[in-house]
Amino acid sequence: MRKTLYFLAALVALNGAAMAQTKTFKIGDAGGMKASQMFQFESDADFENFTGVTHKLGGQFKFDPKARTGSGEIEVDIASIDTGIPMRNEHLRSPMWFDAAKFPTAKFETTSVKHKKGDTYTVSGKLTVHGVTRNITTEADIRYIAESAATRKAMFKGDICRITCDFKVNLKDYGVMIPDMAAGKVSPSINLRLDVFAYTG
């Protein structure tokens, strides 16, 4: 009985020590970092490649730099995505496309983060776009940088975690249909890229 209690106590202590390594990072507006936060999509169509970019991101990320594991969620403001052409922006926000009024955000929530090698991780999670949620798995780069004079000079607050990942999605899977008049100008599958600097503050 006593041995079991000791074992449980040791387990709790170990767990506590392990939990202590997990840091919570915020994603969002942090002064000078705002412009560095980026969500972008790229359409690779026959006519041209074009990108849509926004810096309006929010969420949080828990990461243990020693155990190399973590979890988190990121939200992207759809209405603020800029493709460089005002009329195209309006089209993308319209009910015919992403319907930003009805579905103002896209969200990615991790279900597992597994270390692969170096700063590369295999990340699985639920991606919600246009009100449709689907499970996806992708590779992500997660680079942990402890607070230093260099990070402070670059306007970062506290430790930072830079997360970059790319994933391809079929618009049809998320209920976004390409109108006939846009065929050839917008690709049916788009590449999404997240480049996020999460900070402990």
Partner: protein, 145 residues
């Protein structure tokens, strides 16, 4: 009839010109285009911290860069020239991608090709009819009358 014949010849000529012209223009554009990676450049402190010139915007594309004032130091993926997207936007420039010209060139070649074939076919048909008409009106064909 004669007017239609001339018109078909003009259509065929313009079609052929369009095919040849767009092919020549495309080869010139292709020679001029370079692989470009648009980037949102970091400030010096950030670039020093991360060891990168900036965040790439989209994937590298073959682009015709007439004005090189937005080119920044360094090379991107596959040796792509790095171009400051903010500078391009500020100056209201939207460089043409080679694939867009390829797409338009393909359409011009397609339409030109069809115009050439249709124009030439109509012209040949009219020519044949005219010859047959001439032969039909010659005295040798009146032998049975």
């Amino acid at each position: 009839m004669r007017l239609l014949s001339v018109l078909s010849l003009v259509v065929a000529g313009f079609g052929l010109l369009a095919v040849i012209g767009s092919t020549v223009a495309m080869s010139k554009f292709a020679a001029k285009a370079e692989l470009v990676q648009l980037v949102k450049p970091y400030d010096s402190a950030m670039a020093q911290l991360l060891g990168e010139a900036g965040t790439p915007i989209g994937s590298p594309q073959k682009i015709i860069l007439d004005d090189r004032s937005a080119v920044i130091e360094g090379r991107g993926q596959d040796g792509a020239v790095l171009v400051d997207e903010d500078k391009l936007k500020a100056s209201g420039r939207y460089p043409v991608q080679l694939k867009t010209l390829d797409y338009v060139g393909g359409l011009v070649r397609g339409v030109g090709g069809v115009a050439f074939i249709v124009g030439a076919a109509v012209w040949l048909l009219l020519l044949r009819r005219r010859r047959l008409g001439k032969e039909g009106g010659s005295p040798s064909n009146c032998a049975y009358s």
